[in-house]
């Protein structure tokens, strides 16, 4: 029941209420300009068909809107990058999907055990998993490359995906979430004759949808946007994902701003759409995940 006094503002139809709303809008618009403004400019520049350079004063509004940059980028018709962007897009998709699926499976299993089972070394291994959140990836480049090379994983898609699957965040989230689930259901399933895995698979998993969506989206976006691992492990640009490929537009002696902005938009827009369209699910995941006020 949401009465009006659950809110902070005055009623909308009083003068004061209107003023307050106006103030709120003003504040929000200013921040929105600072968060999204640069991206609007980015899109604007990407629509300048004849290229863009940092002139003084900066030129922000296209004289004529043109999708030429998008076409060029998508087809790989630029000076610095002659590979079609579609390929990177597909790579990004493959990495994101692959890593997300792996993370979902592996982290949910582990999260369940950390939340519900008692086993020797549990706390230590949980700490180890969490600690992976804090490692600077830079020192891992060379050892990881060397290591993966021995297994033929360098320059393979699996090799690129793998490092994305070791973070601790998912395990942490899943564990928190499972702790909030009523254990009665699992008890009921044990009595109903399920094995431990049966309990997990048939009872726990179906209840975890919000958490799975949350973790899924966050992982998907993280991997989609990931830069360092694909850069290092994809020897060949054919295996690059979008963010790595963006680097191409900055050459040794010049930056192709307009195509770069178009390519950036191609990278960004799907994630914004994903983020926005799924928000009600993962917000729920956060709420239930015990990270509430």
């Amino acid at each position: 029941m949401s009465g009006t006094h659950d809110t902070i503002f005055e009623e909308p139809d009083t003068t004061q209420g209107r003023l307050e709303r106006l103030g709120a809008h003003a504040y929000l618009i200013v921040i929105a300009l600072l968060t999204a403004g640069p991206y609007l400019i980015m899109v604007s520049i990407s629509l300048m068909g004849n290229g863009w350079n940092p002139v003084v004063p900066p030129k922000l509004i296209p004289e004529a809107v043109s999708l030429q940059n998008y076409i060029d980028v998508w087809a790989g018709q630029t000076a610095l990058l002659d590979q079609p962007f579609s390929g990177f897009f597909i790579n990004s998709l493959i990495y994101a999907v692959g890593a997300t699926l792996t993370v979902l499976v592996v982290d949910t299993l582990a999260g369940y055990a950390f939340a519900r089972l008692e086993f020797a070394g549990r706390d230590i291994s949980f700490l180890a998993v969490i600690a992976t959140l804090m490692i600077s990836p830079m020192i891992l480049f060379v050892p990881l490359y060397t290591w993966f090379n021995q297994f033929g994983l360098v320059n393979t898609r699996i090799g690129v995906i793998l490092p994305h699957t070791f973070t601790g965040f998912g395990v942490f989230l899943m564990r928190q979430f499972i702790k909030t689930l009523p254990s009665d259901l699992e008890d009921a399933a044990l009595i109903d004759g399920c094995s431990r895995f049966g309990v997990f698979w048939r009872v726990v998993i179906p209840m975890m949808k919000p958490a799975l969506v949350t973790l899924g989206i966050i992982t998907f976006i993280t991997v989609w946007n990931s830069f360092l691992w694909p850069l290092v492990l994809a020897r060949d640009s054919a295996l690059y994902n979008l963010p790595v490929a963006l680097g191409f537009f900055q050459g040794r002696t010049s930056t192709l701003w307009a195509p770069l902005m178009a390519a950036t938009a191609i990278t960004l827009v799907p994630m914004v759409i994903l983020f926005i369209s799924m928000q009600k699910y993962y917000v729920r995941g956060f709420t239930i995940g015990g990270i509430k006020g």
């Binding site: 350079n53 002659d82 490929a245 050459g251």
Partner: protein, 506 residues
Amino acid sequence: AGGGGSNDGGGSDSGGEGTTTGDSDDVTTIELWRWPHSTEPSNAGEDEIVKLFNEGPGAEQGIRVKQVKNPFGDHQTKVKTAIGSKSAPDIAWTFTEQYYDTAGKDRSTIESEAPYVYIDDYVSDDWLGDFYEKELSDQRAQFGGIVGAPFVSGLQPGLMYLNVDAWEAAGLGEVPTDSWSYEEYLEAVEAMHGVEANGSTVSGVGIGLKDATSSEWSNFPGTIGVTAGSLIGNGYRREDDSYALTMASDPELEAWNEMFGKPLANGWTNNPLSYDYLETQEPFVGGQIGLLHHATFSRVQFGQEADFNWTIIPYPTKGGNENYSVYSAGLGVLVTMTAFKEEVGGNPEAAAEFIKFRNNARNQYRWFNTSSQAIPNKGAYELMNSEGVSDFVEETGGKDIMDRADTAYSEYESVREAIKSRYPDIKTTEDGAPVTNVPTGIASGRVGEALGGMLQRLAQNGNSNPKEAYTQAEGQWADLIVQADDTEFAEESRGYNKPEPKAGPI
């Protein structure tokens, strides 16, 4: 999208999963790691040569080159990761000094410790002979041999581009064609500032430099000095193998004060560090006179169609003295095609085959015709003169710059002699070249940090007191040399105006 036709050349990236195509017939696939050229024709030309190789000599010898293009900014990281993991590419474009610190080391040490091979072990003297002498002699002085094939050339301290319309709108009269002075330069800039030209307002000047802490900075103080008549930049190696630093002994200090010590209106200044971390790519973007300190652009290409008159004018010199040698050819930073050792995963034999092909006079000439970029190969220059150049080169003024480069290269001999006479204690190589390399790779490149730091400090304090800054930077550098195991420092060269500055017309 002009050069699209040759995009498929060299099997650039289409291979995807790698080396499947030729394996059956005993074909060795070697990888060439490079970054993309910034311009399409250059890339097309590059690809074309790779394709020619794969179809021609490569096919004969069972070698196939696969190009891997890395974003420029990430290239070094990728190559180093691969080397560290013993799976280096066979050939890579490198700034050679970034991969191994050669200071104080002789060839045999370098040979056993550096990741790259000496290309002179694999090529004929004949082939080497096509390069301008300076490029070889510089490498010999530094490495005791040739470690990589130079393939792009440039002019130091750089070129100056002028928007003629703006110049005229400011009522500055004749465009300078001969030597002119810093003072005149500054006056012109101030006069041009604020005038209307080509539908926009002229705003200051720009100079393109980059990378605030890069080791490339070690070149900057020295190269600027050239415009004041210094011939050796930052220092030299003495006969007793100790290094003498001349940075704080350069007549360029004065130059610095003239050129950079004075902030221009609107915050524009010639001090490169007051600019963005990224370089200015377009000479006309930042201002209407532009300086480019190196000349990988040996031609000007405009992002927006240049619908105004532009021209290349001489670099201003100290007092407008035309006797000062302004230009020196070659790249301040050594970009070479380097072949890596087998131990780190390379295949130098096969790599050398390609390097030979790619950089022979014929192919350098071929690439010049498509890219219009200056090249350090006199055999190729001869071909330009005998066989003519492409329309593209004509349009973009590439030949003009190549002519300047050739002139500068040919002055090398006399410059060399002048150096030897000014610095009698300078060490010379077997073939008589003075060793003007100073150890910049020392202490893992922290020389760059020290010099970059100095320049940054100057930038922060509005260029005040460069004398102190230079002296301090030289001191730091000297310390690094002293600390390094294999190097010795000529202590008497430490400090302001030690050794005594030597500059003047050749």
